[in-house]
Every structure is written in structure tokens, then in C-alpha cells.
């Protein structure tokens, strides 16, 4: 399996290289430059000339590309003392998460090599570890304690692209993970239940709702949610339940911290008030998709011979559905979810714009409008890398779900 992963990673790197070249050429030959907005003012001609030279826009496109590529993979030298200050000086939420994750991850690694236990607590520990290790990886990248790449300065003047991308990525993950959780928690049981109760009233209703939701553009769902739940609900009840836009209130910091530097209940409430509507608008469409896929997949499995055998053996219905049917019916969903996670890195462009959510999608739109190609390139490659990695993870998960799959 190790060789398989390495091979897939090499293919992935080649794909990303080709992607970067194509996107760079598209930007170069699209006819605009980041300095076009200054062109109509004759007094800005010296400024344009100066910036053209400073940003290397006067060089041939291939030369610009190789300069960009070299910088893109070059780490930035971060002073050790800066890293140490961040690491030990401010133990906020992310630090505690990271420390916990570190301990769990080390324990997991040791146990994997030296202990072979198949007890239930071990499974729980494994599930928990995967989540926490993800958190530490993200924290390390975001806080720049260990590592940062020279992705250049934004042509819009808003600083280092690396910082902008990972600043926005945190917000995108907050939104995307919540939406994914909602979609999975509701969508998959819904699909399973519809399959078990095929052609029942509930199944018909679920199908109709799914089709309506799936075929409604996300901007309509978003605007409707804003109008009904953020605006009208307050008019009807006199209570502000949800906000139209933003990720937190401007007075979020003044709401006070909870124990161990964790968010207080008031802060958590504020986050939920802002997060719910954008998350639900994304989840609504994914949920419809998951439930439809899950229903179809479940129906296919439930009519298979091995399930009939299981029934004939007298296994409890619950066991048949959960252990035998659901596990096999999950395989197509894994592909769907893995691709959803990958595209989530690119941000929910429309949703982020509607709800004023400061994620990668919004950053991307702004970069395109300003022909800010360091940012465009970085976002495109981040999405590309996400797709590559998530595809590999999906392939690995196939093996976990279906023991017949072999990695040759």
C-alpha cells in the first residue's frame, strides 16, 4: 500500500505542475494585467512602470512562470525565536488542541507499531485520533510556527499570499466542516430510512424535498434563509436569532473567554448565530445529494444475495442493516464526500459572498477581479492538491470498507 500511495503522490505532483502551467498561461493570455485599473490616469504612468518592474511583469511569461514556481516551493525562513514565542507564549485554544493532538498522535503511532488490540475503546481512540491529528496539522500550517512557503505578495496590496490563504482556509473549514457534518448526519440516515421504507409516504416526501433542494440554486437558498430566518424571524419574535452576514459579532472578544482559554458560552452562541445559515444553505444541497446516493446504493445492496442469506440465518434486522448493508452501501458515498471535502478547500464561493464569510472562495473572487495572479495560482493549486489528497484518502478508505480492494 505504501508504494501505491507514493505512486499516486508522484502522479499528483505531476498533475499539479501541469495545472499550474495551464492556469498561469490562461491568466497571462486573458488580456488583463493587475495594473489596468491605473492605466486611465496619466499621472499613474510612472507608478505603473515602477510596479511593472517590481512585480516582474515586464519579463516574458515563461520567465515569470519559473520565477513564480521557484518561489512557490521555497520555504520562508522564519526566525526560531518567533516560532518559540508563538509556541510557548500564547496558549490559546489552538495551542491546547495542538498539545492534546500531539499527545494523542504520538500515543497512536506507538500503539500502532507495538500493540495489536481490537477492543472497542481502541476503535474510539482511533476515530478520535484522526480528528485531532487533522487539527494539529492545520494548526501548524496556520500559525506558521514551523513552516511557510514564499507564495509571494498579493498584487492587491493585502500582504503575503500564504497568510491570506491560510487565514481564509480556517474560516472555510469552519463553514465547510459544519456543513458537511450537517449534511452527513441528516443526509445518510435519511437515505437509509428511505431505502428501508421504499415507496412509503416518507420516501416520496423525502424524494420530492431532495429534488427541490438539489435543483434550487444556492444563492436562492441563501437569500431565502437570510430573509426568513435572519430578518423576518426577528420581526415576528423580537429576538435576534441568526445574523445576515459575518462570522462573528464585532464585540466577540468582549464576550469573555471560558475555562482553559476555550470560547465562553456567549462566544459559542455568537458563532452559532453566524454560522448556522451559511452552513445550512451549503448542507441543504449536499444533504439532498447524499440522501439520494445513499438511498440508491442501499437499495442495490439490500436486494443482494448475501443480505438474503443474512436474513435467512435469522440475524437481527438492525445488524443486517447497519453491519452488512450500510457498510457496503457507503462505498459510493465515500467518493462523493471526499470530493466534497476537496472542493470545500476552494471555498463555497457563492455562499461566502452572500453571507460575507471571509473564506477562500471570497478571496478567490477578489483575486480574479484584480488579476492578482499570485493569489489565483495559490488558490487553484490548493484546491488541486486537495482533490489529489482526498482522492488518495478515498482510495484507502475503499480498502477499509471493502476488504476485496487491493493496492497493486
Amino acid at each position: 500500500m505504501f508504494a501505491y500511495i507514493i505512486r499516486r503522490l508522484v502522479y499528483g505532483i505531476v498533475t499539479l505542475f501541469a495545472l499550474s502551467l495551464v492556469v498561469f498561461m490562461l491568466i497571462q493570455f486573458s488580456g488583463g494585467t493587475p495594473l489596468d485599473r491605473l492605466k486611465l490616469n496619466p499621472r499613474m504612468q510612472p507608478v505603473i512602470a515602477q510596479l511593472t518592474e517590481q512585480w516582474g511583469l515586464d519579463k516574458p511569461w515563461y520567465e515569470q512562470y519559473f520565477i513564480w514556481l521557484k518561489n512557490f516551493v521555497t520555504p520562508i525562513d522564519i526566525p526560531a525565536e518567533e516560532g518559540l514565542t508563538v509556541y510557548f507564549g500564547k496558549l490559546g485554544v489552538r495551542s491546547w488542541v495542538a498539545i492534546a493532538a500531539f499527545v494523542v498522535a504520538v500515543g497512536y503511532a506507538i500503539a500502532t507499531f507495538f500493540v495489536k488490540i481490537e477492543a472497542n475503546w481502541w476503535r474510539t481512540y482511533r476515530a478520535f485520533s484522526i480528528l485531532v491529528v487533522g487539527a494539529i496539522a492545520f494548526w501548524i500550517i496556520k500559525s506558521r510556527v514551523v513552516f511557510a512557503l514564499n507564495w509571494g505578495e498579493s498584487f492587491r496590496g493585502d500582504g503575503a499570499v500564504w497568510d491570506n490563504i491560510f487565514g481564509a482556509a480556517g474560516n472555510t473549514f469552519r463553514l465547510g466542516l459544519t456543513a458537511l457534518a450537517i449534511a452527513l448526519i441528516i443526509g445518510i440516515p435519511l437515505g437509509v430510512y428511505q431505502a428501508i421504507r421504499q415507496y412509503s409516504f416518507f420516501d416520496q416526501l423525502g424524494t420530492m424535498v431532495s429534488f427541490i433542494t438539489f435543483s434550487t440554486p444556492i444563492f436562492i437558498i441563501g437569500v431565502l434563509l437570510q430573509l426568513i430566518l435572519a430578518y423576518q424571524l426577528e420581526r415576528w419574535t423580537g429576538v435576534k436569532v441568526f445574523y445576515v452576514a459575518g462570522m462573528t459579532s464585532s464585540g466577540y472578544a468582549e464576550l469573555g473567554r471560558g475555562i482553559f482559554g476555550l470560547p465562553s458560552l456567549a462566544q459559542l452562541g455568537d458563532v452559532i448565530q453566524h454560522l448556522t445559515l451559511p452552513a445550512v444553505s451549503i448542507a441543504a444541497i449536499s444533504m439532498a445529494g447524499y440522501s439520494r446516493f445513499q438511498r440508491a446504493s442501499m437499495l442495490e445492496v439490500m436486494h443482494s444475495d448475501y443480505l438474503r442469506t443474512a436474513k435467512a440465518k435469522g440475524l437481527p434486522r438492525r445488524n443486517i442493516i447497519v453491519k452488512h448493508a450500510l457498510r457496503n452501501a457507503m462505498i459510493p458515498i465515500v467518493t462523493l464526500v471526499s470530493l466534497d471535502i476537496a472542493t470545500m478547500i476552494g471555498g463555497a464561493i457563492i455562499t461566502e459572498s452572500i453571507f460575507g464569510w471571509p473564506g477562500v472562495g471570497r478571496l478567490y473572487i477578489g483575486a480574479i477581479n484584480a488579476v492578482d495572479y499570485p493569489t489565483i495560482m495559490a488558490v487553484v493549486l490548493a484546491i488541486g492538491a486537495g482533490v489529489v489528497v482526498m482522492n488518495i484518502i478515498a482510495d484507502i478508505l475503499y480498502g477499509v470498507l471493502d476488504p476485496r480492494v487491493r493496492y497493486d
Binding site: P46, A135, V244
Partner: protein, 604 residues
């Protein structure tokens, strides 16, 4: 223990807890990831916790929500929404020229002048009065140079208590002239000498120019910035404020919060109260106009300046019975029809007749400006009769009023043109940007107007990147349409005349029409006289000289129909009048936040 771990509830609880921690950690910024706070002031004087002493101002130690016995209320917060976020807080670096930087910047920067939202005239800010020839602040010297003198207000201080001095002006000049700083150096680079005092600053320009009016619009504090990396250190933080507020928080992608500058030096002209009234202002960034309107409806935000689409204006005006105040004004951006006089117009229209004056006059009488304003702006403003009207109406003579909508007269001119050109038919190809709804609508209206007068008409619209790039650079259009932005004062008006300077074709100059340029078909007495006028305008500072010259130039451009002004774009702002007082929209680049210090909550 194993039983505990086997419990599904415990398992789900653990997974949910981990998920909640990750989600919260993802966007949480308490470790400074995204959040930027103002650089701490090096010396915070003790008195900064007390509102500045005036007879009416509260005297107890407080920063917030104190109510004077008379006058306007102190305290509270106002939320201003905008569809863009500033890329930087430093207006002197790339990206700093964005309009939103100025909107937010009104809260913490100050300069020699500001634009009055009521009169649209320049008024003094940091100086006691704006220098002019009349008040002796501007002197034209015998050697042909010109000296400008500023008297800095005695009470003007930075937010950390340091007096604003002539050194700060000199430092600002030195910073702008730094060759490594990519910033517009026009006029600054013509300064040949300076004289610095504690509360005075004088400079001498190589030759007289009215452009002195708009320089030193923002002063940089020497004591903060000196010795630091100007282009890097001051992008996300702000130096000591000279404005009514100081930067408190910048939550990237979400909002900027500014809080009261306890050392602000202005008092309210009406009540004598210490300014500002508000404790804080939040600038919240919401990209979608619809969301901004919904947030305004739900009173999540108090003040908005949405794009002035007619449906948006109507939606806002529907909220007036509930307490909203909607201001719809004519803005400084003026749309105009224009002709290309260079040779590349034939690439667009091989039958182009732009060189013929009667043809151009015929086109001017073909255009129904009232219909255009009705269709595009829902009749909210009057059409333009001059490019000077949007920001300097008192100077304008309305020279284009001679061209009323008159198809009969237009056809007479077209007949004359056909005779002079020796053709049987006239062809017009119209080009503008395709990704601007108003311009697309305009192109549709033109179809009927030209059909009515018997001119063969064709629309060739282009994406704005192409139009404002290759098309404009090379003059590849026949009949074109786009907008320019005007700014107040003589300097603003004079810069518009530069757009028609026969001696300044692009790329170095701004005469994109190529009217009178060496490759133009229109080189005659009119272009020669206009070039003289333009030269005189750029070397004069006396209003008695400038105004007649401007009016003569305006008349030449109208008589020659070089361009045809159509309308000024609307600017809109809305405020909840039952929550916020003191608001007055300013349609110029000073924006709706120009008098932020005078805003107050009326609902406290």
C-alpha cells in the same frame, strides 16, 4: 472502564467534542492569526481617558456613553457596511488607492483639506485656512516660482498627544518622494524648497499650479513612522491617528473597528461639544448587495452606501416610513459619449465619419438624454450639459445645452455631412463595456435613436478588460462611451482639461480621443487654442484667470463636439435616522464617512 468506552453515547460525545474543538479552532483568532490591532502608542498620556475639556463635555473619567446635559448624545457604536474590504490601511502603498481605503481612512487620517459634503468645496482640516492668492497663503514669486504657506492649527495633535508639526509635513513629503515608493508623485516632485516650523510649513513649487490644492491630503506622523519599514510595517496597522478615531481591530474579511480618539482636537461647530460623539464605528464588509440590503433592513448595520441600481434605491426608499433616510445624489463619475479621431477607428468602422463636425453635431442632436436618464436612472437626476457640472457646477456654463434632442435637426446635419464627405449613407459603430448593465441598456436605447435619424448603427460591446486595455490604449473605436471621475476645486477641474490635451496622447498622456494629437484628423485652430488654454490652466493659480479660461475651453469642446456628456452616476446612501444623527452623504471621493466625527446615536 471498557464498558464506559463501549457506550455509544460516550463515543459520540467524544467525536462531537473533537469536532467542536476543531471547528472553533479553525477560525478562531485569539492568537492573532487574522486579527490585527492597532500598534500600541508609545506614550499614552493619562488624560486620554477623559473626554477633552469643553464646557459642555462630561468631566468624569470615562470613555463612553456619557450624556451631556445639553447637545448631542455621547456613546454607542455605528455599523457601516460596504461591499469591499480595504486591502491595506496605508494609502501610500499599492492597493491604497482603493475607494474603500479612503472610506475607512476618514476615521483616522487627516490632512490639509477635506471636501465639505454640503457645498462640495474644499475646506481646511489641519490648517487654519486653505492658502489662496487672495488670503496671501499663495505667492507667485518674481522668479516664476510659487510659494504655499500652511498655518497648522495650534490644537491639532496626534492621538498619542504629540503635536502635529511642520516636521510631519516635511516627513510626509520625504516619504512620498522616496524613489522606492510606488506612489503618485505629481506636484510633490515639483517642490524645490521647503521651510519648516513648529506649526508652519511652506514649500515652493517650480512654477505656479492649481494642483497644490489637493496635495498633503494625508499627513504621516514622523515620530511613529521614522525608522520603520513604511511599506511593510504599516499595511495592517495604523500610525497615531489625527482623525476622530483610532484603529482598534481588523478582523480580516469581516470588519474593522475604530474607537474614539480621546485626544481628538475638534469640537462640534453647532454645540461646542468635544468630538467625536460615538464610542466606536464598525466597518463591516459584505460582498453581496442583496445581503447588505437585508442586513440594513434587519438593522444589523446602520449605514450603507450600496451600488445605486434603481431597484436598490426603490427597495431602500420603501423603508423610509420605518425610519430610514435615503439620500440619492448625483456623483462625481460622469458618463459621456465620445468620438475617436485617430487612424485606428477605421479598424472598427471603415466608414467612420468622426472627422466631420456636422456629423458629430448630428449625433449630438440624435441623443435623447432625458430618455436615457429616465430608463437608466429612473429619472432620479437631471442629464448633464457639461463635464464640469458634477463637482464644479458654479464654473460651468452648461455648454452642451445647445444640443437638444431634435431628430429633424440631426437629419439636417447628417445631410450636410453626407454632402461634405461625398457619401450616400452614414455608419456608426458603438463600443463600450459589456459587463456594465447601464451601458448595455444605453446601447439598446441608441439603436432606436439612430434608426430614427437614418444612420446605420451597430453595437460592438466588449468585456471591460479588453475595452479599457487594448481598445482604449490603441484608439480602436468609432463612437465610444465610458466614465471619468471628477474631483472638487480648480485642481480637479484642470485635470479634466488634461484629458483633451492635444500634446498628450496615450500612453503617457490621457487624450484617448486623440483629438488634435499628431495622428489625429482633427488638427485645426480649435485644437491649437485648446492646447494654449490647457497650458495656461496648468501655470495659473488666480481664480480670475482660471475661470474664464475654463469656460472658454468648455465652449470649444462643446462646439467641436469632441465628447457629449450624458449623465452623472448616482450615489446612494441610507441610514436609520431613528438611530443615527449627524449623517450627511458626500458624493465625492470623501464618501459618506467624511463627517464621521459628527455622527451620534439618537436612540441611547
Amino acid at each position: 472502564m471498557n464498558r464506559l468506552w463501549r457506550s455509544r453515547k460516550v463515543l459520540w460525545l467524544a467525536v462531537l467534542l473533537a469536532f467542536a474543538m476543531i471547528v472553533t479552532a479553525c477560525g478562531d483568532s485569539d492568537e492573532g492569526g487574522d486579527e490585527t490591532t492597532a500598534a500600541p502608542t508609545t506614550e499614552a498620556p493619562e488624560e486620554t481617558t477623559t473626554a477633552a475639556p469643553t464646557t459642555e463635555a462630561p468631566v468624569e473619567e470615562t470613555t463612553t456613553t456619557t450624556e451631556p446635559e445639553v447637545g448631542k448624545q455621547y456613546g454607542g457604536e455605528v455599523v457601516v457596511a460596504d461591499d469591499q474590504e480595504p486591502p491595506t490601511l496605508n494609502s501610500f502603498v499599492p492597493g491604497g488607492d482603493n475607494f474603500i481605503v479612503s472610506i475607512v481612512g476618514q476615521s483616522y487620517w487627516a490632512g490639509v483639506q477635506e471636501i465639505d459634503g454640503f457645498t462640495l468645496e474644499l475646506i481646511p482640516e489641519l490648517v487654519t485656512e486653505l492658502p489662496t492668492v487672495g488670503n496671501g497663503g499663495v505667492t507667485v514669486n518674481d522668479d516664476g516660482t510659487m510659494t504655499v504657506n500652511y498655518q497648522i492649527r495650534d490644537e491639532a495633535i496626534w492621538s498619542d498627544g504629540t503635536p502635529i508639526s511642520g516636521d510631519d509635513f516635511q516627513f510626509t513629503l520625504d516619504t512620498i518622494l522616496d524613489p522606492d515608493l510606488p506612489v503618485d508623485k505629481t506636484t510633490y516632485e515639483d517642490i524645490v524648497s521647503t521651510d519648516v516650523g513648529a506649526k508652519t510649513f511652506s514649500y515652493t513649487l517650480a512654477q505656479p499650479t492649481a494642483l497644490y490644492e489637493l496635495i498633503f491630503g494625508q499627513i504621516i506622523p514622523k515620530h511613529d513612522v521614522e525608522g520603520s519599514d513604511f511599506t511593510t510595517d504599516w499595511n495592517e496597522t495604523m500610525w497615531s491617528s489625527a482623525g476622530p478615531f483610532v484603529l482598534d481591530t481588523w478582523q480580516k474579511g469581516e470588519f474593522i473597528r475604530v474607537v474614539r480618539n480621546e485626544n481628538y482636537w475638534k469640537v462640534d461647530a453647532e454645540t461646542g461639544q468635544q468630538l467625536p460623539f460615538l464610542d466606536s464605528v464598525v466597518f463591516r464588509f459584505i460582498p453581496e448587495t442583496e445581503s447588505i440590503i437585508t442586513a440594513f433592513r434587519g438593522r444589523e448595520v446602520d449605514v450603507i452606501q450600496p451600488p445605486p441600481a434603481t431597484e436598490t434605491i426603490e427597495a431602500l426608499q420603501a423603508l423610509e416610513p420605518e425610519g430610514a433616510i435615503v439620500e440619492v445624489l448625483s456623483g462625481p463619475v460622469w458618463e459621456h459619449l465620445n468620438f475617436q479621431f485617430g487612424p485606428k477607428r477605421f479598424d472598427r468602422n471603415e466608414n467612420s465619419a468622426n472627422e466631420n463636425l456636422n456629423y458629430r453635431k448630428g449625433v449630438a442632436h440624435t441623443i435623447n438624454k432625458d430618455l436615457i436618464v429616465d430608463e437608466i436612472l429612473a429619472g432620479q437626476v437631471e442629464p448633464l450639459n457639461s463635464f464640469l457640472e458634477p463637482v464644479t457646477p458654479t464654473i460651468s456654463t452648461g455648454a452642451w445645452s445647445q444640443y437638444d434632442y431634435n431628430p429633424t435637426k440631426a437629419m439636417e446635419y447628417f445631410e450636410l455631412a453626407k454632402g461634405e464627405l461625398g457619401v450616400d449613407e452614414l455608419f456608426t459603430v458603438f463600443s463600450t463595456t459589456s459587463n456594465n448593465d447601464a451601458r448595455v441598456k444605453l446601447s439598446e436605447l441608441f439603436v432606436n435613436m439612430f434608426e430614427e435619424v437614418g444612420v446605420t448603427y451597430e453595437n460592438q460591446l466588449e468585456d471591460s478588460q479588453l475595452f479599457f486595455g487594448e481598445t482604449l490604449d490603441n484608439g480602436i473605436w468609432d463612437l465610444g462611451e465610458w466614465a471619468w471621475v471628477g474631483s472638487p476645486g480648480f485642481s480637479g477641474a484642470i485635470s479634466l482639461y488634461d484629458l483633451f490635451d492635444p500634446e498628450s496622447p496615450p500612453p503617457d498622456g490621457g487624450n484617448y480621443y486623440r483629438w488634435g494629437t499628431p495622428d489625429s484628423v482633427a488638427i485645426d485652430d480649435a485644437t491649437a487654442r485648446f492646447a494654449e488654454i490647457r497650458d495656461e490652466l496648468n501655470t495659473s493659480v488666480d481664480p480670475d484667470v482660471l475661470i474664464p479660461l475654463m469656460q472658454e475651453g468648455e465652449q470649444i469642446l462643446a462646439d467641436q463636439v469632441v465628447i457629449f456628456p450624458l449623465y452623472a452616476r448616482l450615489v446612494t446612501a441610507a441610514v436609520w435616522g431613528d438611530e443615527v444623527g449627524g449623517f450627511k452623504h458626500n458624493p465625492t471621493q470623501a464618501s459618506h464617512t467624511w463627517n464621521l466625527e459628527e455622527w451620534y446615536r439618537v436612540d441611547l
